[in-house]
Structure formats: structure tokens, C-alpha cells
């Protein structure tokens, strides 16, 4: 080995020179005045120029025009202070391509602390720079999207809980500075209306704790600092760590206030429609019945009067009066035909039997009556038993029955002003083979001796009513093999209830 050394390097200084020139690093030195006085061979090869073209300050001609000013300024600053020089600047390669380089120089001092030399090295960082640029552009695109879309995009680290990012739409929807949320992650839950808070927080906390719940399609209301209420639709995804534990939650919150308002309007319209339909149908039936019955009745009355007149007087006209009586018999038959037809009509239309959940049915009816109940300040309570068996029945007919019982209850309530107005709708298993549905009101009530009469056609206790609702309801329930009856509550109001056999 010494022989090899001996042949390759005649002196120690030559050996060092050899190392410096053959290393892949870009090495250079400068005088205390800042003039570059040495570039190693790697550097000269990279630049494709002899030292004469580069020494002193001529090297600046190889720096990218946009970076020249910056590098010279920084270099002068280091020369003045003696602090290490670090700067990124593009340098033209021999083939004319500029590449990013990180330039680094440190000063060598003599025993008096005077700078005697600057030693420098440069590293090609083009690839890193490009990657950085790509990342920056990508980041910019994502940021632009996040900033621009009306939804709020959020990222939260879990354990410890820390909001990593919230898009600026948060300020528009919540009316709060984003910074507030960064400082206090709990602010989000605090903005949720108390009525919705527990429900949402419960789902959220179970979700981020890794329980088997999804945080998707959660709807809640928030209150802005100015008191404004907004409806929010929220959904998120979890990122799990190596142990499968959630480490990051991210999601999108959407302002659905307008949609909710539209839904409410639609809802009101539906309720109104349901009510109008009910009124119109009963009104129509009433008008039709009135006409159909009054025709033969008129004829009977007219013929009877005429016959009486023909019989009275000195010379009764038996022929005329008998003809009148024949017509009376005919018209009485006609009237009873009409009644028979109405009865047929009411029980006719065979039920469209299908499998159904009684609770779903109740919820459907409550959905269309909710607005009406709110409008009349009626407190609705429900007590729907879970796991009720599936029933066989006609959905529309049974909905009509429930709607009818409910509206009857509401109307009964409205006749007792200034009292606590509440209605209970409950479902439960009854005698193991039946489902029972009851509607209990705290309204005016009905004397016990008249309770059975309310199911008779045309019996009504209401100032505005035809008295057909409960009668029709009972025939529907009986067609389903069930029973419908009413009992007086011990305190106030009545409880109307029906049973339906299990499928």
C-alpha cells in the first residue's frame, strides 16, 4: 500500500490535491476579500470552464440571472460578519442547464481571529427542489380547492385532540374565526344547539374512540355568535395508526340550512294537503249523501202531501192517493238502496294487504302532523315498543286510522284552552298475539255512556264534524281482524286504541 501511495502521490500536499479534485463534491475557496481563487476539478468540469473564466467575481456569470443579486448580497454579508455563508442559487452547467445548488462556505481564522480563507462546498439539490416545487403546487391546488369550496373541510388529530386544518368556509358558516377553533377544539361542540349536542357528541366520541359507528350524514344545528341558526350536515373518515387505533379524523361539514327550510315548507304543505284531503273527502261524501238521500225524501214528502190532500175533502180521490202511496213505497226503497250503496262504498275497496311495521306507520303519520301539532302547541309524546312483530295490513288505510285518531285527539285538546296539552302515541305487544296502538289525549273527554256512540256513523261531539271518521276507522280495523275502542282516562280526556293481529 505505501508503494501505491508513493507512486500516486509524491507529497502529502499532492495527495490532498488529488483527493479534492477527484471527490464528487464541488469544492472551492475564496480570499478574505471574497474573491474565489479555487474550484476543484469536479466544479470546473461541471461548469465547463477554466479557472481563469471564473476566479475573482467572474463566477457570477454562471449564476442564474434571477439569483445573482441574492447570492452576492448574502456573500458580502458573510464577508462582513464572518458568519458561515449558506445560500441556494441556480448554477449553469456546461450543457447550459441551470441546476439548483446549495452553496456553503465557512471561514478559516488565524491566531488573531482574522479570516485568512473561506472554504466552500456546493451540493446539487435540483431533484429535491423539483420535488419541493411539485409538492408546493400540489399543496396549492388542494389549498385552493379547500379554500374555495363552500363546505368546511376539517382535519383533527386525536389524542391529544388538535385541530390541524379547518377550511375558511368555517368562518362563513359558523361566524367564528378559524383561529378560535385551532385554539379550542371543543368550540365545535359548544356551538351545537343543546337539543342536538348530546346526540352528535355521543356519535362523534364513539366514532373517534374506534367503536363500530360511522360518522356519516349527521345533521345538527349550530348557533352563530349573532344568534343565527344554521343546519349542518357532517360526515367524516378515520385514519388508523399501526395498532389500528384512530389517529386522525377528517371530514366535510355542509351548510344545509336552505335545504332544511325547503323541506320544512314541503312538510307544511304536505300536512296542509293531508288535512285538506281529509276535509274535502268527508265534505264531498257528505254532499253526495245529502243529495242522494234528499231526492227520494223530497219525492216521498211531496207524494205524501198530495195523497193526504186527495184523501181529504168531500170526495176523496182514491185513485190519485193510491198512486201517490205506490210512489212513496218506491221512493222509500230507493232511499234505502242509496244507504246500502254508501255502506258498500265504505267497506268496499278491499284492503291492499302488505307486511308492515306499525311503528314505521306511526312515524309516517307523525311526520305529516308534526307541523300541525307544533302550530297548535300540542306536546307529543311517543312510547313505541321496540321489536314489535311485523303485521299484515293496508298501509294507507291504517295510516288513515292513526291520522284520524291523532287529529281527533288534537281537536279535543283545542277545546280545553290553558291546560297542559299533550298527546301520547304508544305501541306495544298485547296479549302476546296482538299489537296495540293507543292515542291518549288530555282533552275535553266524552261521558262514559256516550263512548260507544262515537263509533256510530254521523255521531259527532264536535261543532264542525260529520261524524264519519271513527265509524270508518272502526270498519277498517275490523276488516284487518282487529278491534277499535275508546276509554275515558281517569283524569282527563280519552284513550282511543286498536289492536291488530300478528301476521
Amino acid at each position: 500500500m505505501p508503494q501505491t501511495w508513493g507512486s500516486a502521490a509524491e507529497s502529502k500536499s499532492d495527495m490532498i490535491r488529488l483527493i479534492i479534485d477527484s471527490t464528487p463534491a464541488l469544492i472551492h475557496t475564496a480570499t478574505p476579500a471574497g474573491e474565489i481563487d479555487f474550484f476543484n476539478q469536479t466544479w470546473l468540469g461541471y461548469l465547463g470552464r477554466p479557472l481563469e473564466d471564473l476566479q475573482g467575481w467572474k463566477w457570477t456569470a454562471s449564476i442564474h440571472p434571477s439569483d445573482v443579486e441574492g447570492i452576492v448580497e448574502r456573500w458580502c454579508a458573510s464577508l462582513a460578519s464572518g458568519e458561515p455563508f449558506i445560500y441556494e442559487a441556480r448554477v449553469r452547467r456546461a450543457d447550459g442547464q441551470y441546476r439548483w445548488m446549495l452553496h456553503h462556505k465557512i471561514a478559516l481564522h488565524d491566531e488573531h481571529g482574522q479570516i485568512v480563507k473561506w472554504y466552500g462546498s456546493s451540493i446539487d439539490i435540483e431533484d429535491r427542489k423539483r420535488a419541493e416545487e411539485e409538492l408546493r403546487k400540489s399543496e396549492e391546488r388542494w389549498r385552493w380547492m379547500a379554500d374555495a369550496i363552500p363546505e368546511v373541510i376539517w382535519f383533527t388529530a386525536l389524542e391529544p385532540e388538535k385541530v390541524l386544518y379547518v377550511s375558511p368556509s368555517f368562518e362563513r358558516i359558523w361566524g367564528l374565526p378559524v383561529e378560535d377553533l385551532y385554539q379550542n377544539p371543543r368550540l365545535w361542540a359548544e356551538t351545537i344547539l343543546p337539543e342536538d349536542r348530546d346526540r352528535v357528541r355521543n356519535v362523534y366520541e364513539r366514532w373517534v374512540a374506534g367503536e363500530d359507528v360511522t360518522y356519516s350524514g349527521i345533521e345538527y344545528r349550530i348557533m352563530q355568535p349573532n344568534g343565527g341558526i344554521r343546519w349542518i350536515h357532517d360526515r367524516g373518515v378515520l385514519r388508523l395508526d399501526d395498532q389500528g387505533k384512530p389517529s386522525l379524523a377528517s371530514g366535510i361539514s355542509t351548510d344545509i340550512t336552505e335545504r332544511k327550510r325547503a323541506e320544512e315548507t314541503l312538510h307544511e304543505m304536505q300536512t296542509e294537503l293531508a288535512h285538506v284531503t281529509r276535509v274535502a273527502t268527508t265534505g264531498e261524501i257528505a254532499a253526495s249523501i245529502a243529495h242522494e238521500i234528499s231526492q227520494p225524501l223530497t219525492a216521498v214528502m211531496t207524494n205524501a202531501s198530495a195523497s193526504l190532500r186527495w184523501l181529504s175533502g168531500d170526495q176523496p180521490n182514491l185513485t190519485e192517493s193510491r198512486e201517490g202511496l205506490v210512489r212513496i213505497v218506491r221512493d222509500v226503497g230507493r232511499a234505502s238502496d242509496v244507504i246500502g250503496r254508501i255502506r258498500e262504498l265504505l267497506k268496499k275497496s278491499p284492503p291492499q294487504m302488505g307486511r308492515l311495521s306499525i311503528n314505521e306507520l306511526i312515524q309516517d303519520v307523525l311526520a305529516v302532523t308534526r307541523t300541525e301539532l307544533v302550530k297548535r302547541s300540542v306536546v307529543l309524546r311517543t312510547d313505541l315498543a321496540e321489536d314489535l312483530p311485523v303485521l299484515l295490513g293496508d298501509r294507507v288505510q291504517l295510516q288513515q286510522v292513526i291520522l284520524n285518531l291523532l287529529l281527533n285527539g288534537v281537536e279535543a285538546l283545542c277545546e280545553v284552552p290553558n291546560e297542559a296539552q299533550d298527546i301520547l302515541v304508544a305501541s306495544k305487544l298485547h296479549e302476546s298475539h296482538e299489537v296495540l296502538v293507543l292515542v291518549r289525549d288530555s282533552g275535553v273527554g266524552i261521558p262514559p255512556d256516550r263512548l260507544e256512540k262515537i263509533f256510530m256513523p254521523f255521531f259527532t261531539t264536535k261543532t264542525q264534524g260529520l261524524g264519519m271518521g271513527l265509524s270508518i276507522s272502526r270498519s277498517i280495523i275490523e276488516a284487518h281482524g282487529g278491534r277499535l275502542w275508546a276509554t275515558a282516562n281517569p283524569d282527563r280526556g280519552i284513550t282511543a286504541q286498536f289492536t291488530l293481529p300478528m301476521a
Binding site: A290, Q295, T298, A299, E320
Partner: protein, 208 residues
Amino acid sequence: MNQADPTIFVIDDDVSIRQGLESLIKSVGWKVRTFKNAQDFLHSGEIDAPGCLILDVRLPGLSGLDLQRSLAERKNHLPIIFLTGHGDIPMSVRAMKAGAVEFLTKPFREQDLLDAVRLAIDRDHAVQQRQSAMAELSERYDTLTPREREVMGLVVSGLLNKQAAASLGVSEVTIKVHRGQIMQKMHAQSLADLVKMADRLQHLDSRL
């Protein structure tokens, strides 16, 4: 005098009601004719007969109110009693405004109907009488010569014979002769009588 006997026309699509009404009205001693719809009545050629009309509001084809309007357009003043299946207030208001005598809801009391018929016949009779008096008056007026009508106009407006003569450029005697003819042709007992007739005729003119 058979011609003057009132006829009660009944229009109802319900045969039982038609027969019942026919029998009831006959039992009172009135003449009655029944129709099952408005068109049959309009084409019967009897619409100008004295009497009254008992009309169901709801009729197939031309409704009761349509018929009422149609009769009014023909200057037929036959009094109408409406029958309706159920109290339709806006409809009855329209019918009454258009001159109906009564609006009865089925089933009605026979006495209410008979009272209404009696009222309608009386009203029709009065109208008929007034109309025939007017017809007679205008018939008489039609017999006057143009010159006589001219003189009548001046006389009833209060001009003396002398003034009328001057106004027409004839002698006073000529006026006297015309005046005598007018009084005779018009069956007027006095000047006051003539003035009254002229007044009524003027009403008729303005109405026509």
C-alpha cells in the same frame, strides 16, 4: 177564460219528484205540466203561457240558472221557484238577484211550496195585467195619425190650443178637431187621463 188559467210548469230530472209535484199541484186544483229537462220546456211552445215555473237547479244539460238567464233574454217574465238538493248559498243569491220568487231546499214543506206557487201566480198575473193594459194602450196609440200624435205631444206637455196651433202653423179649430179624435181613439175621459196615458207610453218607449 181557459186561456187565463195559470199553468204550473215543473222541470226536474227526477221522475218521482216530477210525479209527486204533479199530483200535489193537481190536488190543489191548478193546471200542471212537467218536463224532465230545460230544453224540452224551451221547445214546448208553452213558455209564454201565464203561470209559474218550478225549477230544479241541478239539471242535466241546461242548468236551472241557465234557463233563468235564457228566459230573461227572451223577455219572458215567468216567475221561477227554484228547488235545490242542498242549500247552496251563492247559487241561491244569484237566483234571487235574477228575480226568482223563492229558493227551496229539498226536502221542502209542501206548504212552503204551495205558498211560493201562489205568490208566483199572483205576481205573474199582475205582470200579465200590466202588460195587457200596456199592450192595449199602445194599440190605441198606434191608431193615431202622425199629425194626431204630434198634437197629443203638444197638448200633454201643457200647451193651450192656441199655442199648439201657433206652434204647428195651423188654425185653432184644426187643433180642436185633432184633439177630439185623440180623446176618442185613446179612450181618454179627460186631459188628465190622457197625460197619464202619455206618461205610461213614454215609459214603454224608453224601455223598448
